[in-house]
Symmetry: C2
Subunit: 135 residues, 2 copies
């Protein structure tokens, strides 16, 4: 990917209110300052944990979506094998890629990433189709 | 992937009731036979179209899921950059891969495919994190 999403660096361009105390703060800093730094660390860990839980939930959803997708493509593979249709269908793939790039753009996902991902998945599907056709 | 899903070849192991008329059927075949072949072709096309619509719906869902996932990982990237944490976290990635392999197995998705896919996505995320850290 050559172009990161437009908001990839947005947050780092502005100072953040919850930045931790500077690590080189003098040892004579008041106790409440140390408490604030510890609280900020705990806050960072909690925020990281919260985000990772969301990522894990999304990954579980994606795995189940893809399991369902492969059930569909396996049926396609059997249909194609039974009727001696080719495993790959470049015209269909081009339409899929164009459509997904559009969907990605509207969802603010990098279209190049969406295309690479679909290409990756389709390559796996074609391997399945070829396996079915050979069997 | 070395092991296709267990049901990848299941359907081809049994004769299918809706196989089309053999293409080398004699020209003297009754008209109703030709009608049956044409109907079978239409049925195949309709079935293929139905499956492809489901695949397109699933792909749209996956794109939107991944857009949401990148919103989360961008927040993680900013947190890491702000607190000078490394972009990659091999221990976390190992746990993610192990968990997703388990989820894939229970959903009858090839665990090796799920692992390759997650590795592909994580590589993209780490590139984002490094871009954020450099900016």
């Amino acid at each position: 990917m050559t172009n990161p999403p437009p908001d990839a660096t947005a947050h780092t361009a502005t100072p953040t209110p919850d930045a931790p105390a500077a690590p080189d703060a003098p040892a004579t800093a008041p106790a409440c300052g140390e408490g604030t730094a510890a609280a900020a660390d705990a806050e960072v860990r909690a925020e990281l944990e919260r985000l990772r839980e969301s990522i894990d939930n999304i990954d579980a959803a994606v795995v189940h979506m893809l399991a369902e997708r492969f059930k569909c493509t396996q049926q396609v593979g059997r249909l194609k094998a039974r009727h001696a249709l080719p495993a790959a269908d470049p015209a269909r793939e081009a339409r899929q890629i164009e459509r997904l790039r559009g969907l990605a753009e509207s969802a603010r996902l990098d279209p190049a990433f969406a295309e690479k991902l679909l290409t990756f998945i389709i390559a796996e599907v074609i391997r399945h189709h070829e396996t079915i056709a050979r069997s």
